[in-house]
């Protein structure tokens, strides 16, 4: 089925891009299954279930030209009938085992998150294999789920947050799939045929583009066999080439979209930097101090704490597999949003001219390094983080080296990267609302 949520363009993988050293070593086993599939495992037998995360590279960015929404609709149909089971029969079988499978798709990956009880793990894995390798795309299920997807598209069109994110993505990414919603448009989804869904499956569900991680009550040997059974029936290669890097088209300025609401939603972005950039960690620390650090950040201090102009404002390095920005968001009353936007520019400029204090730097480092091991507190989270690391090309020992890269950042590094990247005249603000005293620049 389609869940009534939309995927924000290029926000999906941000949380996976920063890893570090745990206060307690995280023991990642790198396994190769008998069938040759690489899997990362954190073994923990204290709770009788296994969490499994599969990520297929490319995600909805592998939609064929003119078929936007193809992979999203296909993904939602994986649990709507497969093999000799109808949609209802399949759901009955999964529910009868107490298994839980989620199928999601974003710009960078199609993500399968499964939880299986130890007592019937093989049967649960068999049902997952069936969903991935033998989906039926029965006409009644296709029409039903297509209707649900159309409802999500209509909801996006009346949600100011989605409208703002969509416009920012449109301006940022030109003709790359990042520029448009993974769910497609009412028109593109209406025209998708069953053949398009079969083609969508072949474009992405293949062994050459899957990364796998698991955590929980399973040994390496058991996991190797299980993965071979789940993925062994998939084609060796996907029919679509992996997406090309996106080139950022963003220009500085202000876009206003009229929306009848007491508040204006603001999304903003400027160029970011890839994780491979030598200054990535300096920028990561800078962002925390600037706007990423919640109540501790400069933007929150100036705009919320001192002036009460917003309930929340924040920024983040948004690093997708195929492109990156430095972006942020807030909402503010129509008659106050001009002041709030101006403050964002001022905080930006002051960051470049003044740099950061030693205390800000030290506090940012203790947060960023201390927060890291807290992420690994459950099988489901561990499996997801480990698959995400593989998706963006990080080695397993990154969990042990990441924090030292943050510790090495100096105040000079932060100021250098700020001078290089933070330019308030390069920020594109998209405002959705009825903002007083804000002029659109184009």
């Amino acid at each position: 089925m389609i869940r009534a949520v939309f995927t924000l363009a290029f926000a999906a993988l941000v949380s996976l891009t920063a890893m570090g050293q745990g206060a307690r070593a995280i023991d990642i086993q790198e396994i190769t299954s008998p069938g040759g599939i690489k899997v990362w495992l954190v073994e923990d037998h204290s709770i009788p279930f296994t969490a499994l995360s599969l990520m297929f590279r490319g995600g909805a960015s592998l939609d064929a030209p003119g078929k936007r929404g193809q992979i999203s609709l296909m993904t939602a149909l994986l649990e709507e009938g497969s093999g000799d089971m109808s949609s209802v029969q399949y759901a009955e079988a999964v529910e009868g085992l107490g298994a839980q499978n989620r199928f999601d798709v974003g710009d960078d990956a199609l993500i399968v998150s499964a939880r299986m009880l130890t007592e019937n793990r093989d049967q649960a894995a068999g049902l997952l294999r069936q969903a991935l390798t033998e989906p039926r795309f029965d006409p009644d299920a296709v029409e039903r789920v297509r209707g649900q997807l159309q409802a999500v598209i209509r909801s996006e069109a009346t949600d100011p947050n989605a409208i703002a994110a969509k416009e920012l993505a449109r301006q940022a990414w030109g003709d790359h799939p990042y520029a448009t919603s993974v769910n497609g448009t009412a028109g593109s989804v209406a025209s998708l045929t069953r053949d398009d869904l079969v083609a969508a499956k072949d474009r992405i569900l293949a062994r050459d583009r899957v990364v796998v991680a698991a955590a929980g009550d399973i040994t390496g040997e058991e996991l190797g066999k299980l993965i071979d059974s789940v993925l062994g029936g998939l084609p060796e290669t996907g029919s679509a080439p992996l997406p090309q890097p996106a080139s950022l088209q963003l220009t500085g300025g202000v876009t206003v979209i009229d929306w009848d609401s007491p508040q204006t939603v603001v999304n903003f972005a400027q160029p970011g930097l890839p994780m491979s950039d030598p200054d990535y960690f300096a920028a990561f620390v800078a962002d925390h101090i600037l706007g990423g650090g919640g109540f501790s950040s400069r933007l929150m201090e100036e705009i919320r704490e001192k002036r009460g102009l917003t309930y929340g404002v924040g920024t983040g390095l948004s690093n997708g597999v195929y492109g990156e920005t430095w972006q942020g968001g807030m909402a503010s009353a129509n008659d106050k949003v001009a002041e709030a936007v101006d403050l964002i520019r001022q905080v930006w400029d002051r960051f470049v001219t003044e740099g950061v204090t030693e205390k800000e730097l030290a506090d940012a480092k203790t947060y960023l390094t201390g927060e890291y091991p807290l992420r690994f507190d459950g099988n489901g989270k561990i499996a997801s983080i480990l698959a995400g690391m593989q998706l963006i090309g990080l080695p397993a020992d990154y969990v042990n080296t990441r924090n030292s890269k943050i510790e090495a950042v100096t105040a000079e590094d932060v100021q250098r990267v700020a001078r290089r990247l933070l330019h308030s005249d390069q920020i594109r603000f998209v405002l959705v609302g009825r903002p007083d005293g804000v002029e659109a620049t184009d």
Partner: protein, 464 residues
């Protein structure tokens, strides 16, 4: 909870709690001499701890005219103490690699931090400090009132679904304060003052009106020692216990409410009825209602309403919702989004027919078995999140349940019988006093299919 337990004498709360017999593995419970109840949930898989402090006070305890004060005070609790400057608590937590936040509901106000387990003394020291020593600076309270007004704009006024929920609640409850929004009505929020906030704090923030939950990589002995050290010295307040609230009279009339808003993408029907909550030693009806909600709409393919309405092309989505963790009677609800082209009245008639059929037939044994299996599996998966279990215990105790009640809940769910479900269904699905709401898009914003739907509806006499 019921009248008797609401009026539990203060002296009883102070009495030492005996060690409980069959506590689940890793769960322990104790009460300090000053009345602070504590639950410890051990999970040593990661070096993380969550501290949650639940005050048994919420928006439903506010006086008329002061709506929003519970939530406003929650914000002001970050504005400092004798020892901490405004904002310093959050900054200290962050600088130590943790995160913190707070939330307010009808029945409780909760503060929490998530941090490396060796920092538990630090966060306990700061949390216990603001239990007794809050200082709200002259400069801070007005800016923060703007912040909560912006929060209202963002959460409620920018979202027609939230606005509609607020009005449906006001229609649902004639007399009980659950009819008022937690965040407050705007014009009353605008008039809240620092004095209002301090009065609220002085009256309600005390160890004997709070529940401490610590979950993660800690032992019960550690938590007991630290809790005694930091919270133990905070004096109790004799009148801090929650007072009874105005209760609902007998309701006699069904109500219908309709709202058209251009920001709505498609019509949605939401029907609610007042339903009993979980009470100490008496959770069977609530368990049956919980299983009933699962049977009706817990699966997108196999549930009663999915089968009768979604698979038949009448509805895009169905949902049934019920949460028994509440001080006073709560609501059981059903929602539905019609398939474009299906007139709203036809979708609603199909819903009524499906519910009538369920009232006649009762639960399908195979489906009930699957729901029970899902509940049993969810119990295993729940072990994966110490934070989640902290919510279960904290919320349970905050609304007046005992630790045993929370411990017993999964078994009570597992023991629900088809007869229990029939009785629960009769209670909430056969009610003559439900509130039925339709949230509708403006006619010109809908797509072509929906336009033909409203044309059909107009022919059948329905007003959209």
């Amino acid at each position: 909870m019921n009248i008797l337990s609401r009026l539990t004498p203060f002296a009883l709360v102070l009495a030492a709690t005996p060690a409980l017999a069959e506590m689940p593995k890793g769960i322990s419970h104790f009460t300090l001499d000053n009345g602070l109840e504590a639950v410890v949930i051990e999970d040593h898989r990661a070096p993380v701890v969550v501290q949650m402090l639940w005050y048994r006070i919420g928006s439903a305890d506010e006086q008329p005219g002061k709506s929003g004060i519970a939530h406003y005070l929650e914000h002001l609790m970050f504005k400092g103490t004798d020892k901490l400057a405004a904002g310093e608590l959050s900054k200290t937590v962050t600088a130590n690699g943790g995160m913190d936040n707070a939330f307010t509901s009808y029945d409780f106000t909760t503060y929490f931090q998530r941090i490396a387990s060796d920092r538990l003394p630090l966060i306990m020291e700061m949390e216990s400090d603001r239990m007794a020593n809050l200082r709200i600076g002259e400069d801070d309270w007005q800016a923060e009132r703007q912040v909560v007004l912006e929060e209202r704009s963002q959460r409620t006024d920018s979202d027609p679904g939230s606005q509609f929920a607020e009005e449906r609640s006001a229609v649902q409850f004639y007399n009980h304060p659950y009819g008022r929004p937690v965040i407050g009505w705007r014009q009353e929020m605008e008039g809240l003052t620092r004095e209002d906030a301090i009065a609220w704090y002085d009256a309600h923030y005390a160890p004997n009106a709070a529940v401490l939950v610590v979950a993660g990589d800690v032992t019960a002995d550690q938590v007991r020692e630290l809790a005694q050290k930091y919270y133990g010295p905070v004096p109790p307040k004799p009148d801090a216990a929650r007072k009874p609230r105005p209760q609902e009279p007998v309701q006699r009339s069904p109500r219908r409410i309709e709202r058209v808003d251009a920001r709505v993408a498609q019509p949605v029907l939401i029907r609610t009825v007042i339903a009993p909550e979980r009470n100490p030693g008496d959770q069977q009806t609530a368990a049956a209602l919980t299983v009933l909600a699962d049977l009706l709409a817990g699966s997108a393919q196999t549930s009663v309403l999915a089968r009768d309405l979604v698979l038949t092309g009448k509805a895009l989505y169905v949902n049934a919702f019920y949460d028994g963790l509440s001080v006073d009677p709560t609501t059981f609800g059903i929602s539905l989004v019609p398939v474009p082209g299906v007139p709203n009245d036809e979708a609603e008639a199909a819903l009524d027919a499906a519910l009538t059929k369920f009232l006649t037939d009762g639960p399908d044994p195979a489906q009930l078995e699957r729901v029970k299996t899902s509940i049993r599996a969810a119990r295993v998966y729940a072990q994966d999140s110490a934070h989640g279990r902290a919510y279960d215990y904290g919320q349970g105790l905050a609304v007046g349940l005992t630790v045993e009640d929370v411990n017993d809940w999964p078994d009570i769910l597992a023991a629900v019988t088809p007869e229990d479900i029939r009785a629960a269904a009769k209670l909430v699905l056969d009610s003559k006093v439900s509130v039925t709401g339709w949230l509708l898009p403006a006619p010109d914003t809908t797509d072509e299919a929906a336009r033909s739907a409203s044309a059909d509806a107009a022919k059948s006499g329905e007003i959209e």
